[in-house]
Amino acid sequence: MSKTIEQLRQEYGTREKILTIEDLVVKFSLRGEELTAIRQASLDVYKGESLCIVGESGSGKSVLTKSFMGMLDNNGWIDSGSVLYKEEDLAAYRFERQWMQIRGKEIAMIFQDPMTSLNPLRSVGSQIKEAVELHQDLRGEAAREAVYEILENVGIADPVRRYRQYPFEFSGGMRQRVVIAIAMACKPQILVCDEPTTALDVTIQAQILQLLDKLQKMYDLTVIYITHDLGVVAHVADRVAVMYAGDIIEVGLSEEVFYNPQHPYTMNLLSSLPQLGEKGKDLYAIKGTPPNLFKEIHGDAFAPRNSLALKVDFVHRPPYFTVSPTHKAKTWLLDPRAPKVELPSAIKQLRSKWGDDIVAGS
């Protein structure tokens, strides 16, 4: 039997924070102009959880994770704010050798397309061995044995033969397993998965998600998923953070965000899913385009596309309003003075069938 929402909320009260991002601002310089990619985003990551960051392309989900791994492009920098990891402020890191202590060892990352993250000219085994030698200080035969073990752990059968093979001899799903193996060879605390299954078929996708789940339990990993597939989110997430225009506008337990969304953007995003649409009718489509991040944004970034926008949305930026101990959202709709809004019918249906207790509890 799965846990009730109250149990989950209590459990989170006792969890230890592993990473704390506070008021982070990341800027890029592009063609002489300044682009603000992350606008004062704050996020806590708890030990052992799986957190999903969702948002459209360009909302800054990849930039956010790259900023605490020292992987921003050369024209990007952390302008202000802090990222606390094990009592160290990563935002203050300036040198590559500082990042070397974090990247891979503490926080590892896997990318969307396994073909571009593997070296086609080197055997799979030697690529994993490189990570083992660097991070586990093993050499020669011992390193080789460690690679065999990792290969078995990620579900690649016959590791002795597979060790000598090259990436082109692997299928897409198998390649992604190799990428995961390289990340795991570093024995990280946090694993960031940037769209890990987008390039894969549904059947393979299910297998990879299963594998990540198994590894998470085995190594007590904290996993951060970046994805725009809400089906995947529902499958893996303990908590969900929704990003829009460089800010985290809503964050909460998976159940809370799916059955009781508060920010209009989250509501619209859910309503536009074909799974929740009614056949023969138009799907709900979000009008307009995301804001231009070269310009300063006043008020709520989503206001120009929001049919429910209040006057205040165009002037003042909303702070976080607390919905439950684990659920908060940046929208003026939660202010006690705001008018009551009707939930979109698709979400109402979803909630009445599956998540009545979420509202009752808070």
Partner: protein
């Protein structure tokens, strides 16, 4: 109700690549019809041959065996020049990635009218401009966008340009090869709505190729499931999703993630193992299990499927 008109018939279509020892069978004896005004969804994993079928219909990939009939006339293999021109005009394609399928160096005006230039089916410059304007308006873009370059547009707008350039030819059948796979969730909805709108307004027929089963369910009237070059099941959309018969379809359906955490966490996945079929001694045939619901099976399997199916259908009542 009169029997719907068959716009396209695919009969025993096979497509092979290479020859001799290097031969690769991409599509093996595929049969299906597309009726006028419907959307037929074609789903399968990558490498199953769904794109190859689409490309065979627009005559990009030569067919090895079998026939493709468009409005009763054979359009596969060697055909008359006249017919070839007609087919190029009447069957259009929309591609997957609007970032890759539009010429970066050409203006929208040229991109949209490229087909017109190639077939020269306009009499004067004004008529061409008029056609471009009409196509842009029908996909919800402004006519003044014609003077811009593709990089000035967002992903959703680019895909609209992709749709506009097939509409300008006045097509009857559109082959949409994963038209929304590369788009964001919020933009997906816009393009799906646009395609449905155009279908209603212009009486278009679609062959919708995709691997995302939830999108296919939303947009298609009928769905064909393809596995390793063979169509294993074909039925009306709801029938297929409610009563899947073939084990591969079942496996595929069970693998779709649902955006609902409490349902999703309990979801069971049925793995499909092709070795369960004993087709070596008893080859499969294309059989009808219920009205308009076809499945690929041999007699022995069919018996089992029938029992299961009847059992299931009774439960539903």
């Amino acid at each position: 109700m009169p029997a719907p008109e068959k716009l396209l018939e695919v009969k025993d279509l096979s497509v092979h690549f290479g020859r001799g020892r290097k031969k690769f069978v991409a599509v093996h004896k595929v049969n299906f019809d597309i009726f006028k005004g419907e959307t037929l969804g074609l789903v399968g994993e990558s490498g199953s041959g769904k794109t190859t079928i689409g490309r065979a219909i627009v005559r990009i990939n030569p067919t090895t065996d079998g026939q493709i009939l468009f409005k009763g006339r054979c359009i596969s293999g060697r055909i008359a020049r006249e017919l070839d021109r007609e087919v190029t005009q009447k069957i259009q394609m929309i591609f997957q990635d609007p970032m890759a399928s539009l010429n970066e160096r050409a203006k929208v005006d040229y991109i949209v009218s490229e087909g017109l230039y190639n077939t020269k089916n306009y009499t004067c410059e004004e008529e061409r401009k008029e056609k471009v304007t009409k196509a842009l308006l029908s996909v919800g873009l402004l006519p003044e966008f014609a003077t811009r370059f593709p990089h000035e547009f967002s992903g959703g707008q680019r895909q609209r340009i992709g749709v506009a350039r097939s509409l300008v030819m006045n097509p009857e059948l559109i082959i949409a090869d994963e038209p929304i796979s590369a788009l964001d969730v919020s933009i997906r909805a816009q393009v799906i709505n646009l395609m449905n709108q155009l279908k209603k307004d212009l009486g278009l027929t679609y062959l919708f190729i995709a691997h995302d089963l939830s999108v296919v369910r939303f947009i298609s009237d009928r769905v064909a499931v393809i596995h390793l070059g063979q169509i294993v099941e074909l039925a009306d959309t709801e029938e297929l999703y409610e009563n899947p018969v073939h084990p591969y379809t079942k496996g595929l359906l069970s693998a779709i993630p649902v955006p609902n955490p409490r349902v999703e966490r309990k979801r069971q996945i049925h793995a499909y193992d092709p070795s369960m079929h004993k087709y070596a001694e008893n080859p499969p045939k294309w059989m009808e299990i219920a009205p308009r619901h076809f499945v690929l099976a041999n007699e022995e399997e069919m018996e089992g499927y029938r029992q299961n199916y009847n059992h299931h259908a009774k439960d539903a009542i």
